[in-house]
Subunit: 397 residues, 4 copies
């Protein structure tokens, strides 16, 4: 059992709490901190939390607290983590870890120096579909991974601080790209070094200083490519789709808008309000168990079971730091209009990889380019002559 | 926290245990009974159960047992329930409750006489998609419910006793129809009396005495229709689809084969084996979190929370009895080739309902049949003259 | 090239004309008949038809007419066909052929006696998805066919005569069931005799004398089962889905609501009106090329190419007669509440079939019931002992 | 009626011919040219073409030829077009127009100087789903267009010349990117100037000199972004998906792998071979009417109807030239690792556009950032203060 201090009582704090105390869980939130008293009080009432406060340190330091969960705006993560380091409390932090890699690195170093358990709450790499897809990829079902894309777009976040560049540290790249980058990085291999980033970003619709739409490519040392598509201007709900493509296959997952639940209503029947949907009538696509589908349950299980077993969780501050470093490169690229290197002072994965060669022999003199049955029934192979380099076609039978 | 005696160590016992002890659950299995010693031992080892036995009563009677979970073949349900009654242990029983309504009624009566908590483990009415759809229907988003269909088909069950008419009590109607009937009944209203059943059943493929394919209609007192489609001869995996249609809308759910997870593999990449899939290559459709998607987590949460709060769970032996009564009528109809009445000596829902009239007035003299915009742009209404009964068409500008 | 007399200028007449004269077709409509002058005139203007009339015979008899296309209300089909017989003009008739099998038989007999080309315009067995699925089934990809289901539901037809029992001859069974019955019959085999029908029908919503919702089962001599689900009360657009299930596989097709075209619009952007959709905002599911998707192009190609080649088309009046006979049995069954025989005085297919036996030997002493890999990794077979009839399970390594 | 000279008898020549002579078309191929005699002969036999030749000019010059259809490898397009110019024959050319913009420009200039009808056979902007989506976008249903993405990936082309850099002029960017670029350009507006391109390309799998995987972004003068994803290394069939996103909505289309046709087969039932599918068993996703779905029918209808009416078709050599110019920039960018300008000496669309401002007023002092109903029920607006630039949140009870 874990007794949790919850820092933050907003949207994500409530999502976390619904997961933490949902179903038959043994874990309980014992303190809650919010910047606003009425918010702290309401949260404490809603979730049955015995102690609330508007003093962050007080929520952390109390002896009944086993672990601290940071669900605060991005600009307050570092302060919260430093307090946990000071009081040697295990800490888990919502995404992104920092507003940039410098902040993230300071949190990482402080936590490791203090020797405290640190977890990075990247829920979407714990989404059930991701977990199974990831395991499938690791077992080799898709062969060598060539490309991994993650798309997260919706009509924009719910709290005002996201839209404030100072508090958030960025726009949809930071808010949504952090998910996408870690998903693609996981499929490609977290031990493969991200080398450089090319990114387009623009503010197409919203009256804000940060970007509201961006697309980026992340090149890895072994030649694989990660891709992110993020936006706060998408209309139609929350679009969460991932794709991963290997030499031997592909996986497509859809976590939200198309999950096998489809509904039409004229809207005359009742006052039904679908979550995050943009309308209450017509065709709607609800999610059965949102908390589980988005990975919260599996994430906290990993965090607390790891803590109890004295192990690092799957996602630590180090991962948060790598993600921030990639996003920093994306921001630089959006300005410089060039590929920008990912600066990683502290790289813990494989080193010195090169793009592997993967030629398939057809016979001693030829590489195989492709086998095919054409639409008029012929079977043939396309070959490359090893000596001449010429492409040749050979109809079989 | 609940300490559970698990009776049965087969396929369903393992599914239940994966749910019961998965994630952060506080509940634990403390005893396990199996008919075969090696099976009991292996289960105890796999799930960390401290006590195993091949004496059913011994698994139930031990003082550390809070609740008994019956995961045995259908012909052993009654014996297990009677032992729980004898020892006054709360009991939850897998589906179907009995092999027929007579058995189910004896279990219901015994449990109520003994005053013990009784739960009916119909997991699919706890599937997350069903739970949200059900709530949506209850709030009126689809208006008056006209029809509810549930389809469960797959290539046949995994244990030999299912295929043995004596032990199982029936074929796919009993095995799969029990799910479908309770799903449709829930959408239509569990307080609405099922009146009669028409069923077709046949043994089309398998060398067995029971039916391997059946389709049935269940008429309810208010005029709504339930439908089930069940088969052990379907090829392509497990097909679990529900539809519910009301005057104001429709809901379609797919719990298994199309959930937003799609994968192609040449099969050359690794030794991946997809669960229940019929192949390991080509396009495959895995489920992210099978345990949750099929309703097990939400089912046990309801069961144990209800037990702890002194309430009846959503699904009790009474529901199991109603389902068995409907299935009995289906079996009679498949033989008599007529609609057969559902015999319910003990009916606890609404009585004396009639098919409601739902005419919509267009103006004092006409009922509205339909409004339409045709494909060549005209707006019109089709009306029924209240006096003459004539259908009339009126083009509106 | 075919010069066509179009009888009828309503919804279906226009759909047909869009197909007949669409793209690069060489066929032209040369006369049009309508009961109402303004309708005939408008149609002639819209489609460039040189001659219009409100005298049916006049539209048929003119020398420039090569073939007559009957797109009239059901109660006028027989009159039109008899005029074609009188004038020896090739004739093609929209579905259903007659209001009942007696009418259909009279038309069939008259056309055959007159020796004229006769085609039955059952467009949905010419839908491109159906054509390919049908060919696939014929080649054996699904093995022996066990079950074929066709569903057509929408919010009700567009012209007032459909809702008038006298003119239409029935409700949604006749209007939509004729499609479904011919689709299932085609998958099962048009030479397999339909034996009996069980049908439920009700008027659940609309203020009409005919049924607005029905479900039926059609049993074929070889043991296969056809199923239809039809309704005029469905909300959400036009639901056109077929399924066919064989011993070796299954096919699912969706002709309208889910064809790979998905759209979300807030409705603020423009005055877009989606065809047959029930709303202009939210998630919409248009069809790319409706005329082609619904089979009209392929149907007329078969009709006219057959006519030019002196062959019978795939669908003739005989097929229309068989369909009417099956629907007649459905109507009788809805009243009698029993399986009703399909009365076919004129049966031209196979005779004396019995339900085939299809047991699979595992070894000399056993039939194979099922092979399986369980979720805990064991491989096993379930067998039936040929002598004892006992079900046995055998774990293989 | 059009009498066609077909230059080329390979894969695409046959696809075109299936479309040209399919269904009830009045158009006929009257001559065919192929580089190889046996290929020319076979084609003439298969499609009933009266005259075949291995002399290109001979196929063009014959008097019965109304229009020339160029279906040759990329390196032969220019020669064929120049011959058509010489003999003043209307000409339509498969995609891409040239191997690069220089070739394309020469063809464009020559055709315009000769005053001949010229059509660019970009079939995918005639795909029925595209046509309807395009019309919807033009009517404003999605509002201002922000982003349009087109993805075409498959396991590689069927003829050897595609894999030869000299004959093809490039790899998957040229082969598939030409489709994607024209699709996105059409959604954004063909009169909007493409300004610059950023592209990643690599040879990840195949033993060839050209790229087998690429991703590119195309920036338009009004700030909209086009995106292409192309590959010859995708496994799972042919993936053809487009997305377009506007301020007021989104459209997703799938032309091939998910069109509402789903099939499972054990492979035991027959010798079914699915087109372009990578396997013959398991779950397969056929397309009903491939020729129509891919746009061939609607494309030739536009080409020939335009020719007969003395109008330019929707896609002319000018469009082919613009596409080549964009692809040239993509190739330069893949090397320079920077955004590269699209060089268009001949620009016929709008000029001098700037990124438009689209702020929404909430009240005199604020812009609206977003309205939302949160998951705990509160309605609120997020605003930007026009004076201070501050983001503010306002809860509306």
């Amino acid at each position: 059992m874990q007794r949790i201090a919850m820092l933050g009582s907003g949207f994500i704090g409530r999502f976390y709490s619904d997961s933490l105390q949902g179903l038959r869980s043994k874990d309980k939130i014992v303190t809650v901190y919010s910047r606003r008293e009425e918010s702290a009080k309401k949260f404490a009432a809603d979730y049955g939390v015995p102690f609330w406060t508007i003093d962050m340190e007080e929520a952390i330091v109390r002896p009944e607290v086993d672990v601290v969960c940071v669900s605060l705006p991005n600009n307050l993560h570092e302060e919260a983590v430093m307090l946990c380091c000071k009081h040697k409390k295990p800490v888990i932090v919502t995404k992104p870890l920092g507003r940039n890699a410098v902040e993230a690195k300071r949190m990482l170093d402080a936590a490791e120096k203090a020797g405290i358990f640190n977890g990075y709450l990247e829920d979407l790499v714990y989404a059930p579909k991701f977990l199974k897809a990831y395991e499938t990829v690791r077992r080799g079902a898709l062969g060598r991974i060539l490309w991994a894309k993650s798309r997260e777009t919706h009509p924009g976040p719910h709290s005002e601080w996201f839209w404030d560049l100072e508090q958030a540290g960025g726009g949809c790249i930071l808010d949504l790209g952090c998910h996408c980058v870690e998903i693609a990085r996981s499929y490609i291999g977290k031990d493969i070094r991200p080398v450089e980033v090319m990114c387009w970003a623009d503010t197409q619709v919203k009256p804000i200083d940060a970007e509201d739409h961006a697309i980026g490519l992340v090149k890895y040392e072994n030649g694989a490519i990660g891709q992110f598509e993020v936006s706060w201007t998408f209309r139609g709900g929350m679009d969460l789709r991932d794709e991963v493509m290997g030499e031997e296959g592909t996986i497509w997952t859809n976590n939200f808008l198309r999950t096998g639940f489809e509904m039409f209503t004229t809207g005359k029947g009742g006052d039904y309000v679908a979550e995050k949907a943009e309308s209450n009538s017509g065709w709607l696509f609800p999610v059965g168990d949102e908390i589980n589908e988005l990975g919260y349950n599996h994430m906290f299980t990993d965090m607390f079971s790891s803590l109890e077993n004295g192990k690092a969780p799957k996602e630590t501050f180090y991962d948060g730091y790598v993600v921030n470093s990639i996003l920093d490169a994306a921001y630089r690229s959006a300005k410089s209009r060039q590929w920008e290197p990912v600066k990683l002072d502290d790289w813990r994965g494989k080193k010195g990889l090169t793009k592997e060669s993967h030629l398939t022999d057809y016979d001693p003199d030829h590489y195989l380019v492709k086998e095919e049955v054409t639409h008029y029934g012929a079977k043939k192979v396309i070959l490359k002559n090893k000596k001449t380099g010429k492409i040749e076609e050979k109809v079989l039978q």
